[in-house]
Amino acid sequence: MISSKDSAKAFASRPVILHVEDSEMDHEALKRALHKVGTIAQLFWCKNVDDAFDYLHHSGPYDQLPAPRPSLILLDLNLPGENGTSFLQRLRKTPKFSSIVVVVLSSSSNPIDIERCYDLGANAYLLKTLDPRELQPKILSLAQFWLGHCVLPSGQPREVGESAHGAVQGTHA
C-alpha cells in the first residue's frame, strides 16, 4: 500500500504526507493536484483507520514496508469502519503522534462536523468540491503553508510526564 515509486531511503529528506481516504478516485484527485502544484512531498495512502495506525506503528504489513513518519496527515471523515473523527481522537491521545499536523479533507459542510473536528484537534478543515480542479488551489496553499512556511514538530518521541530538563539531557546523551 505504498505509493512511492522508488525506495524510501532515496526520499528520506522529502516531507511525507499520509492520505487517509477510502475512495480511490479521491486519492487519484489528490495525487493529480499535488503533481500539478509541483510539490516534492512523498504521498502515502491508507484506506482505513486500522491501516493508518498500522502505518504509524510500523505494525501489520508495515513491518516490512517503508512507513516514514508523516509531517502532515490528510484525513477523510467518511471512512469504512471507524470514521475519521475517531482516528483523529485516537491520534491526539497517542503522545507519539499527538503533534502531527492533521488537515481534514471532507465533503461534509455540516457545521457540526466542522466544529467537532477542530474540537478534536484538527489543524485545518478543507471541503472537497464537486469539481476536482477546484482542489488544486487548495492543495497549493496547503503545501505552501504547512510544508513551506511552517516549522513543524520534529516528531522525536518523548515520554509522557518527562520534564523539560530531562528532555534536554536526553538530547545531549
Partner: protein
C-alpha cells in the same frame, strides 16, 4: 321550667302577633273528656289534680290532694302502676294502663296514660296520670277484633307504591277508623307553608285539596309539640277546660308541663280559630321525618267527637307507619326522577367521544332533546370562549347570554350555579322572563370560557291560599292586632318571573356533565400531545433521512464529476468535440444535481438544528442579507428599501437573515424590469391584541408575479414554475426553506401577487415576543394545544 311565671291564665290576651310565643304547654288545664292527677312516687301522694276529677271519680280535687292514690287501688295495681311508670321513664314514651279505682260508689275502670315529669330527686319521681273512661257509644273492642280491623288498615298503607298512594290510603283509613267528617294531609312545603295533598270529606263540604296555608297556621311551638306528641285530639272545641289545682306543683314549684298530655287544654287562639271555621272537634297526627315535622294528618268534625284510647293508639301507630314509609317513597320518587335524567345524560355523554368540540356541538344540537331533558330544561346556551354561543330551545335573547356567562364564571367557589329567578340578579331579565326565568349554569373548565347554561321559562304559578298569607302576623304594623280569621278567605297568589326551582339531582347532573367534559379535554390534550410528539419524531426522522441520503448521494456524484474531469484531462487529445461537449454536459448535470442535494441538506438542517433564539433587530437581519447579496443586487440593478421601522424580535438571527436573503434573491430573480425594487416592512393588521404582538412582515417586489393558480405549488420543494434555465436557474428549495424556518418560529407565510406587477410575501413570527414586552423568551409558552 318556670320561665313563664308572669303568665296568667285568666284575663290574658293572646293574639296572632304573640301566639308564636304563647306557652301552650303550660296552659294549666285539661279538656273535659278526662281527668288528670300528678302523683309522687313511691309514696303515691297526689300533688295536683284537675278540677273535673269530681265527675270521673266522684271525688273533688280537694279530697284527692295530699292523699296517697294507693288508698283507692289494690296493691297489685299499685305494683303495675309503678312498673309502667318505670317503663315510661325508660322509654320516654307515654305508657297506658288499665286501672280500677275502688270508690265509695263501687269499682270504676279507667284507661290511664302515665308519664313522668323530669326527675327532681333520685328517691322520688313525679308522674302525670291521665284518666279516661270507656265511651258509652262504642264499647271497647276485644284485642282480636281490634287487631283484625287495625291490621287491614296498616296493610293497605304499607302496600302504597307512591307517596300519593300512601297519603290517599292514610286519609281513607284514618277517616274510616275515626269517623271524622274531614280528614286531609297537609305537608310542609318549600318556604315553610303547608299544602293540602290528600283529602277525604263529606260530599257537602268544600274541598281543601290543593290549597296552601300560611306558615303561621301552625306556630313554631305547636310544631315542636306535634313532633313530641304524635297525636293531638280536641274532642269538643267549645267545652270549657278544667283547671289543674294547685296551679304550681308543691314539690317543683312549677306550672305543670302538659307537652305530653293528650288531655292538654286548647289555647284560646286556637279555640277561636276552630270556632270561626265551625269546627267542633279536631285531631292531628304528626308525620315526622328526620325529627322534623313533615306534615300532618288533620281531622275536623262539625260536632264534638270522642275517640277512645284504642283508636287513638291505632291512629298514632298509622302516623308512625306513614312516617317510616315517607323517606323510602321520597327517595324512590327522587331516584326515579334521577334515573330519568340519567338516561338522557348517558345519551349526551356518548356525544363526548366526538373528535373535537365543533363536532360535539353539532352532536348536542342534533340531540337537543336529551341535552335539555337531562336537567329538565327548556333551553340551553353552550358557550366556547369568544365564539358565538350555541343556543338550543327557549333561551334569553343572544345579546343577554354573555353577562349570564360571566355571572356563572364569577361564581368561583362553585362550578354549578342555579337560580329560579334570573331577574333578581339582572332586573332587565324580566323583559324575557317568559323565555327564561331560571338558569342552571356550569363552568366546564376551570379557567377557560367554556360555559353551559340551561334555562327554564317562567312558571306563572297561581298559589291558591286557604288564607291570605300577607295578613299573617309578621306582616302586621306594630300596634295592629290580628285575630284569628273568620273563615278560609280563598285568595290566589300569582307568582311571576320565576321558574320551577332546580333540584339537587339536576345540579348533580350538570356537575357530572362538567366532569365528563373536563376528562374529555384532558384526554384530548393528552392525545394531541402524543400526536404532536409522534409528528415531531417522524419529522425528525425525515430530516435525518434527508440528511443521510443527501450526504451519501454526494459521494458518487462527486465521483462521476471527478472522472468526467479526469477523462477530459487525460483524453482531451483523443476525444472529438462532440465527446468533449457531452462530457461537459455530464458535468453540468452533476453540478445541478449537486445543487439540489445541497438544498436538501440545507433544508433538513433547518429542521434539525435547534433555534438559537436571541433578540434580533430585524433591520439588521435585512441589512446582513443585503450585504451578502451586494454583488447580486448591483448586477441586477435591484434596490432594497426598508419601509418604516422594523421591530426587534426574539428569533434565530441566522435563520431569519436567511429568510430575508432567500426572499430578496427570489425578488431579484423573477423580475424582468430594468429598475427592480424590493420593499420590506410591516403591515398592521386590524384587530385584537394578538396582532400587536405578532406583526406581519412583507417583502414586496415589482417582478413578474405568480399566477395565483400556482398558489399551492410555490412552497413545494424543487417545484419550479419556470423552465430550468429561465430566471437564473435555482434549485427550487429557497421558498421551502423560508417556509420551514418561519414555521419553526411558529409563524405563517403567504403571498399575494398580480401577474406582471409583482408579488408580496407576508409572514409572521410567533415565537418572537417583542422585546419591549418584559417576558423572557425562555418562558415563552409552547404552542397552545387546543381541542378545536
Amino acid at each position: 321550667m318556670s320561665t313563664f311565671n308572669s303568665w296568667k291564665t285568666a284575663g290574658q290576651t293572646v293574639d296572632l302577633t304573640n301566639c308564636d310565643r304563647e306557652p301552650i304547654h303550660l296552659i294549666g288545664g285539661v279538656q273535659p273528656h278526662g281527668c288528670l292527677l300528678v302523683v309522687q312516687f313511691p309514696s303515691g301522694k297526689i300533688l295536683q289534680a284537675s278540677e273535673n276529677c269530681v265527675s270521673f271519680m266522684d271525688l273533688p280535687a280537694s279530697a284527692l290532694l295530699g292523699r296517697s292514690i294507693s288508698g283507692w287501688i289494690n296493691p297489685r295495681d299499685t305494683q303495675r302502676l309503678g312498673d309502667q311508670l318505670q317503663a315510661s321513664i325508660d322509654s320516654k314514651e307515654v305508657k297506658p294502663l288499665k286501672l280500677s279505682l275502688q270508690l265509695s260508689g263501687g269499682v270504676r275502670d279507667y284507661t290511664v296514660s302515665i308519664h313522668p315529669l323530669p326527675e327532681v330527686s333520685i328517691e322520688a319521681s313525679i308522674a302525670v296520670l291521665e284518666f279516661e273512661t270507656s265511651l258509652q257509644s262504642e264499647p271497647l273492642l276485644s284485642f282480636v277484633e281490634f287487631y283484625d280491623q287495625f291490621t287491614s288498615s296498616i296493610f293497605r298503607i304499607q302496600q302504597a307504591a307512591s307517596l300519593h298512594d300512601l297519603c290517599e290510603s292514610a286519609v281513607e283509613e284514618v277517616r274510616s277508623i275515626t269517623g271524622f267528617d274531614r280528614v286531609w294531609i297537609h305537608r310542609v312545603v318549600e318556604g315553610g307553608h303547608l299544602k293540602v295533598i290528600a283529602e277525604r270529606k263529606r260530599d257537602d263540604q268544600d274541598a281543601f285539596l290543593g290549597l296552601h296555608f300560611p306558615e303561621s297556621d301552625i306556630p313554631k311551638q305547636a310544631r315542636r309539640l306535634f313532633a313530641l306528641n304524635r297525636l293531638r285530639l280536641i274532642t269538643e272545641v267549645k267545652a270549657p277546660s278544667s283547671p289543674i289545682v294547685p296551679e304550681f306543683n308543691p314539690v317543683t314549684g312549677d306550672r305543670l308541663d302538659l307537652s305530653k298530655c293528650f288531655l292538654r287544654a286548647v289555647s284560646p287562639v286556637h279555640v277561636e280559630y276552630l270556632s270561626n271555621i265551625q269546627v267542633e272537634a279536631s285531631m292531628s297526627i304528626s308525620l315526622v321525618k328526620d325529627g322534623e315535622l313533615w306534615g300532618l294528618i288533620s281531622c275536623h268534625h262539625d260536632s264534638p267527637h270522642e275517640l277512645d284510647y284504642q283508636k287513638r293508639a291505632a291512629c298514632e301507630f298509622i302516623g308512625r307507619i306513614i312516617s317510616l314509609q315517607i323517606p323510602g317513597l321520597e327517595t324512590k320518587i327522587k331516584t326515579e326522577a334521577e334515573l330519568r335524567l340519567r338516561v338522557h345524560l348517558l345519551d349526551v355523554l356518548k356525544l363526548l367521544s366526538a373528535p373535537d368540540v365543533r363536532t360535539l356541538l353539532q352532536g348536542i344540537k342534533s340531540q337537543e332533546e336529551d341535552f335539555l331533558a337531562m336537567v329538565e330544561a327548556e333551553g340551553a346556551a353552550f358557550c366556547l370562549r369568544n365564539e358565538p354561543p350555541l343556543l338550543l330551545g327557549k333561551t334569553p335573547p343572544r345579546e343577554a347570554i354573555s353577562e349570564l356567562v360571566n355571572h356563572v364564571m364569577n361564581q368561583s367557589e362553585q362550578p354549578v350555579y342555579a337560580t329560579d329567578e334570573i331577574a333578581r340578579i339582572f332586573p332587565h331579565a324580566a323583559d324575557w322572563a317568559s323565555q327564561a326565568s331560571g338558569m342552571l349554569g356550569v363552568s366546564l373548565t376551570p379557567d377557560e370560557k367554556y360555559v353551559v347554561i340551561w334555562f327554564r321559562s317562567e312558571q306563572m304559578q297561581t298559589i291558591p291560599w286557604g288564607a291570605d298569607p300577607r295578613k299573617s302576623a309578621k306582616n302586621l304594623a306594630s300596634g295592629e292586632k290580628l285575630t284569628p280569621r273568620k273563615s278560609f278567605e280563598l285568595w290566589d297568589e300569582i307568582v311571576r318571573g320565576k321558574s320551577t326551582p332546580w333540584k339537587a339531582s339536576e345540579k348533580q347532573i350538570a356537575l357530572e356533565f362538567r366532569q365528563a367534559f373536563m376528562m374529555l379535554i384532558a384526554d384530548r390534550a393528552k392525545e394531541m400531545f402524543r400526536l404532536n410528539q409522534e409528528l415531531e419524531r417522524s419529522n425528525q426522522e425525515l430530516d435525518s433521512f434527508a440528511y443521510v441520503a443527501s450526504h451519501d448521494l454526494k459521494e458518487p456524484l462527486r465521483g462521476i464529476h471527478t472522472y468526467a474531469t479526469f477523462l477530459i484531462e487525460d483524453y482531451a487529445d483523443k476525444l472529438d468535440e462532440d465527446g468533449k461537449h457531452k462530457l461537459s454536459r455530464l458535468m453540468t448535470m452533476t453540478g445541478r444535481m449537486n445543487a439540489l442535494i445541497e438544498s436538501l441538506l440545507r433544508l433538513s438542517r433547518v429542521g434539525r438544528i435547534d433555534l438559537e433564539l436571541q433578540p434580533t433587530p430585524l433591520r439588521e437581519a435585512v441589512e446582513e442579507a443585503c450585504d451578502s447579496l451586494r454583488t447580486c443586487l448591483t448586477d441586477t440593478h435591484a434596490n432594497v428599501t426598508i419601509l418604516g421601522e422594523l421591530p426587534t424580535l426574539v428569533c434565530d438571527r441566522i435563520q431569519i437573515t436567511e429568510v430575508f436573503h432567500n426572499l430578496i434573491v427570489n425578488a431579484t430573480k423573477y423580475n424582468e424590469i430594468e429598475k427592480k425594487t424590493i420593499e420590506i416592512g410591516t403591515v398592521q393588521q386590524g384587530g385584537g391584541p394578538e396582532s400587536a404582538e405578532c406583526p406581519v412582515f412583507f417583502v414586496r417586489d415589482n417582478g413578474i408575479g405568480i399566477d395565483l393558480k400556482h398558489r399551492d405549488l410555490v412552497f413545494q420543494i424543487f417545484k419550479r414554475l419556470h423552465a430550468q434555465d429561465k430566471y437564473g436557474g435555482g434549485s427550487g428549495a429557497g421558498l421551502t426553506i423560508v417556509r420551514k424556518i418561519i414555521e419553526r418560529h411558529g409563524g405563517k407565510i403567504w403571498f399575494d401577487s398580480s401577474l406582471g406587477h409583482g408579488t408580496t410575501f407576508y409572514f409572521t413570527l410567533r415565537s418572537g415576543h417583542l422585546t419591549n414586552h418584559p417576558s423572557n423568551p425562555a418562558d415563552a409558552p409552547p404552542p397552545l394545544t387546543r381541542i378545536s
